[in-house]
């Protein structure tokens, strides 16, 4: 029943910089199925955006995919020409960016920017495209859509702009929607509106959604499955309930313990010590071990492989070599090593 929409295998993405070549994504595999939402979480700079841009083929000019495979509907993207890839973008897969204030072109009307993908990919006439654009704006809950078409981005609030971005991304009914922190710049009330919207539309259109965020709350709200990244690596992946109820990587646990709980006044924060390492910082063994309170000698010398724990749940940590157990009773998740 579950149909694999996007499959990424061993993706390595690197950048040419003044300091030489750096790898921002160090070999990542995951997949997105039709109708499901996969969330990528992780701290700033861990490579979330670069992963998604690699999929879209929109890496900055100094970046390139070093190795790995990206399959969309079982078709390998890296074999496609620029032109073929372009025809997929906005059509089969589309993307929403973080900053609604800068992601829309300030000198073109909303209408123009909305019509563009329709005319491009569906070869609609201008008037047909306009009709559809109105429809799209309606769909994303913008009042007075006909009037909006003639407005410019600066005349809209941040929430409105993000809606326009979503409308634009959904214009051609893509099968894959990538949303890179679509709500980070917005207020909670607006964030809730936008997340609801993405969820509704996902269901309606049966899309696969790849949602990038660093907010565990958002993850809990929208994800079907979760992938946790740390310093360019995937360190844990699993169904959302598993990740929250049975996190198996100390980093994931650390993340969960760092978020204050609105509903629990007694909750005590337990920060992860230290900072994320730099991209080309040389760390032997597990890249997380300097910050890990469970670090063992082994962790310092040998990078852990991926351990499969249960259906769809895997973690890259030596602790899982033994049996991991969780304390179901306390609200707090810990690993008894």
């Amino acid at each position: 029943m579950a149909q694999t929409l996007l499959e990424v295998k061993d993706l390595v993405t690197s950048f040419r910089t003044a300091e030489g070549t750096v790898r921002a994504v160090k070999g990542i595999s995951f997949h997105v199925e039709k109708g499901e939402t996969l969330c990528i979480v992780g701290e700033s700079g861990c490579g979330k955006s670069i992963t998604s841009l690699s999929v879209m083929g929109l890496l900055p000019s100094n970046g390139s995919i070093e190795s790995g495979e990206i399959l969309l509907n079982n078709e390998p993207l890296q074999n496609l020409s620029q032109e073929q890839l372009r025809k997929l973008r906005g059509n089969q897969m589309s993307m929403i960016f973080q900053e609604p204030m800068t992601a829309l072109n300030p000198v073109l009307t909303i209408g123009y920017q909305l019509r563009e993908p329709l005319i491009l990919h569906h070869k609609l006439s201008k008037s047909e495209a306009t009709k559809q654009a109105v429809e799209l704006l309606n769909q994303v809950g913008i009042p007075n859509p006909a009037k909006r078409l003639n407005q410019y981005p600066h005349e809209l609030s941040g929430g409105m702009r993000q809606r326009v971005m979503i409308a634009m991304a959904l214009a051609c009914h893509p099968s894959l929607l990538i949303a890179d922190e679509p709500t980070t710049a917005l207020d909670v009330t607006i964030q809730a509106q936008i997340l609801d919207l993405i969820n509704d539309l996902k269901e309606k259109l049966d899309m696969g959604v790849l949602l990038i965020t660093h907010d565990m709350g958002v993850v809990a709200e929208v994800a079907n499955r979760v992938m946790v990244m740390y310093a360019g690596l995937k360190i844990e992946e699993g169904p959302v309930e598993e990740i929250f109820n049975n996190p198996s990587h100390p980093y994931t646990i650390g993340l969960l313990n760092s978020v204050p709980n609105v509903d629990d006044p007694e909750f005590e924060l337990e920060p992860i010590p230290g900072n994320m390492p730099g991209l080309n910082e040389d760390i032997p063994g597990c890249r997380f071990h300097p910050r890990c309170k469970f670090a063992m000698d082994k962790c310092k010398v040998m990078a852990p492989p991926e351990f499969h724990l249960s259906q769809g749940h895997s973690a890259t940590c030596w602790l899982n070599e033994k049996e991991a157990e969780t304390d179901e009773n306390s609200g707090r998740v810990t690993i008894k090593a």
Binding site: T189, V219, V262, N275
Partner: protein, 339 residues
């Protein structure tokens, strides 16, 4: 009906605001005349007690930062009174104000922008002492090193530039600068919002430790209700420059009186797998603060707005002990009002 009033059992008042207003004039037209005002802060009254953290929450643009800056005198006060340690400070001259500068400090949102990129952090901290004390160089240096240690940095960081630090470390430097002169009051303007969760937790812990150690009072501006719940003793909710609700954290979070507070609370994504709760979704955006709605400023987005709401402005009154709200239907449930 009583307005904000002191209850005798409470500890000493450190800061008291009375009807504080801050308007920004809008200039326009051919002659650049003042054509209107952005009413960024409209009539805020509050009391802050020694050693407590008062959270200020609300959506972007509701006037949180402006309030903080106005208290520090970084923005000229439009109207109202500010009392600090029993003394009115709003009309003081630059010179007289100087001793309050030491008492009141601020920590900023953006750890990348709040440090001068061309100044070594040692110098940046040293400068604070140079401006306000007559300590000799050697003593100052020691004081700076102590400060660095206090916020969890090392002596070797003294000669580094800001760009050589991570966001969390920079925020620690910002904190060091704020506590350098032993203030009694610190305004944290979104002090942790730009940080990653793991680092955010570190910084919050540090702030708490310092508070206990030095009996600091915080005005903690944030839009993250989770952080506020964790960090603050009392909370002030603002909407469009107005105060809409104020009380203890527990009261606010457990039974909020104002529909805006409720909406805000229900909008927060919870990082747990507990059953999803009932949601109140607000529609639309915040109105333009230069042209606020009549009556209750929230009525345009309020799910339980009635006719009276667009006409009468509700007063900010104490509905139960230490729980203030500005709503005609404060505390009533949605279904009852809509009836």
């Amino acid at each position: 009906m009583r307005t904000v009033e002191e209850s005798p059992s409470k500890p000493e008042i450190l800061l008291e605001l009375n009807d504080v207003k801050k308007y920004f004039p809008i200039k326009g037209g051919i002659l650049k005349r003042v054509q209107g005002n952005v009413k960024a802060v409209e009539s805020v009254s509050l009391k802050l007690y020694k050693g407590e953290s008062l959270g200020v929450v609300g959506e972007s643009g509701c006037g949180k930062s402006t309030l903080g800056r106005t208290i520090l005198g970084l923005e000229e006060l439009t109207d109202g009174k500010i009392k600090f340690n029993e003394q009115e400070i709003q009309d003081l001259k630059r010179k007289e104000k100087k001793k309050f500068v030491k008492e009141m400090q601020m920590i900023f949102q953006d750890p990348y922008a709040s440090l001068n990129p061309r100044q070594r952090i040692g110098n940046a901290l040293d400068e604070v002492f140079r401006m306000h004390t007559n300590m000799p160089a050697q003593e100052r240096k020691e004081a700076v090193l102590d400060l660095l240690k206090e916020v969890g940095l090392k002596a070797e960081h003294y000669d580094r530039y800001p760009h050589e630090f991570s966001g969390g470390q920079r925020q620690r430097i910002g904190i060091a600068r704020a506590i350098a002169l032993n203030p009694s009051f610190i305004i944290c303007d979104e002090a942790v919002s730009a940080l990653d969760v793991s680092v955010q937790a570190q910084v919050l812990k540090l702030l708490k430790t310092l508070q206990e150690k030095y009996n600091l009072s915080y005005l903690f501006i944030s839009h993250d209700l989770g952080v506020v719940r964790y960090f603050c003793d009392r909370v002030l909710v603002m909407y469009l420059g107005h105060t809409v609700e104020m009380s203890d954290v527990t009261k606010i979070f457990n039974h909020p009186l104002h529909p805006y507070t409720r909406a805000l609370l229900s909008a927060i994504p919870r990082p747990t797998m507990q059953a999803k709760r009932e949601r109140i979704r607000l529609v639309g955006d915040m109105p333009n603060p230069s042209n606020p709605p009549s009556g209750c400023v929230f009525h345009t987005r309020c799910p339980m707005a009635q006719e009276i709401c667009s006409v009468d402005k509700p007063a900010f009154i104490e509905h139960e002990k230490d729980h203030f709200a500005a709503c005609h239907f404060a505390g009533q449930s949605l279904s009852r009002v809509l009836g």
